[in-house]
């Protein structure tokens, strides 16, 4: 997981690659990639970032730095990404369209790339209403697709959207999100196709708890030939308890948890252990689905548990840590 140079000099990416990203190398070589989410601290102490990153760094190909997810204020994704590159870790810099306009975002993309960031994840962002500061002004100048196309234009055509030239373009592996298990189900694969057309090279999905629904989505994705054009990393995460699962389902936007999963949590003697077991099973099932290139593990402030889940699921295989 550790890259040799913390912030490498500006050099062209390897042949057939768009960036120096470890995640891109792993995916293009056909290996099963693993990414995980780092929960941003409510603190200005870099040690808090490194403490959360360390258990993940040993088992993943890239660490996602969330951008005020759920519209809650934490340390910024660009700050976390910069700290991670300094330590030789490989971050996925998440960009939400909710909080910044096109001037800020295009500038931050250059700044992040200069700090050694080589993966970005373009997101729409949750509405401000669900967050801790619901009176904030929602920006949404870009949406995730126009953002993807803009960064691709910056990278490949060396131009800002205004037409001004960029002398040394940002070398970034472009990612986007998808949420296969929520409505409108029929149009989700079409929307994925649109994201690929906009420039997405990898996809990290929201939480998947409903395997049959996800398999249906993937069947359509394969029909459209999208699995050959984009690397798909389904998202998974451990549930803490049945109560927490119910709360997430009704309060966090875009989360679908089938009743069967909640019942299983309810009848378990040790809900936390059961949540972990369910997550490991999900990873093993997802891995068998054609067109899947890796897995993305998310758990709120439980980085050690994420590391255990990844190791116990067997996805690391013979890979040298």
């Amino acid at each position: 997981m550790i890259d040799t140079n913390a912030i490498p000099a500006y050099t062209p990416p390897p042949e057939g690659h768009v960036s120096h990203s470890r995640l891109e190398r792993v995916l293009r070589s056909g290996r099963f990639a693993i990414t995980a989410e780092l929960n941003p601290p409510d603190s200005a102490d870099p040690a808090d970032v490194y403490e959360a990153a360390q258990p993940l760094a040993e088992v993943v190909d890239a660490i996602n730095a969330t951008d005020a997810s759920g519209a809650n204020c934490h340390m910024s994704s660009i700050g976390i990404s910069a700290l991670l590159t300094r330590a030789g870790y490989s971050p996925v810099y998440q960009i939400s369209c909710r909080d910044r306009n096109r001037i800020a975002i295009q500038g931050d993309v250059l700044g992040a790339a200069a700090m050694g960031v080589s993966n970005v994840l373009c997101l729409t962002g949750d509405g401000v209403g669900v967050g801790d500061q619901p009176g904030a002004k929602p920006v949404f100048d870009f949406d995730s697709l126009s953002l993807l196309r803009t960064i691709r234009t910056m990278r490949d055509d060396k131009l800002f959207l205004s037409g001004r030239k960029i002398s040394n373009p940002p070398q970034l592996f472009l990612g986007a999100a998808e949420n296969p298990c929520i409505e409108p189900y029929d149009w989700r694969p079409e929307r994925l196709a649109k994201k690929v057309a906009a420039g997405a090279e990898f996809i990290q999905t929201n939480y998947i708890y409903d395997i049959p629904l996800f398999e249906k989505f993937m069947a359509r994705v394969r029909d459209l030939g999208l699995d050959k054009k984009v690397f798909i990393l389904p998202g998974v995460g451990p549930l803490a308890s049945a109560r927490a699962a119910r709360w997430m389902r009704s309060n966090v936007p875009g989360i679908h948890i089938p009743d069967a999963v909640i019942h299983r949590m309810e009848s378990a003697e040790k809900p936390s252990a059961e949540g972990k077991k369910i997550c490991i099973e999900l990873i093993q099932q997802i891995r068998e689905i054609a067109g899947v290139s890796g897995v993305h593990v998310m758990a709120y402030r439980k980085e050690h548990q994420v590391s255990e889940i990844i190791q116990e699921s067997g996805v690391l295989g013979a890979r040298v840590k």
Binding site: F140, D143, S146, D157, N179, E183, P253
Partner: protein, 202 residues
Amino acid sequence: MYRVRLFSIRHSRSFEWIYHRVEQALVALDPVLSRIGYQRVERPVALVEKVVKSVLFDCKMCGQCVLSSTGMSCPMNCPKQLRNGPCGGVRSGAYCEVKPEMKCVWSLAWDGASRMKNGAQIAEVLPPVERNLEGSSSWLRVSREKAAQLREAHEARRTTIAKAFPGARKVEPSTAPLVEEPEAAHLDPTIDRPAGAKGGQG
């Protein structure tokens, strides 16, 4: 007017046909409009457009209408004003994440598009809204852009937006303009200005 909007989306195919006719008429009128001056007709046309489209589509006069590519469901009614599809927060029953009493604008858009002749246009990636065009007439911009296309002016001066979103340019020319806004020519960001002469206080 939510119910009228739903009606318009249900009849997306008819509105697509009407829109096409209106557009053809305006493109045919290009020589006349050019002679009168687009600036002079801008305000009255924008007023008519605002009234008609507010009733039918809850139009917000973004000035860069994309109804033909969104199943006649106006994306400016999406609380996140997304231009390219639904977000990941859609509630069960296809209701909006932010306004739970409203159907997801983009779920309706895809339904509307599935009934339209050129519904496949919804797959085209559209650029962000140019906020400085808010309130202006989209109809005039479309007809002027299409007329310009017809005059084979497209090799003359391509903007980066037109190049970066070529498909959008094809299906919704007003979103990725090829011709410069006549009144905005002095704001052209592609022209390098001397360091001391940057616009505004920024």
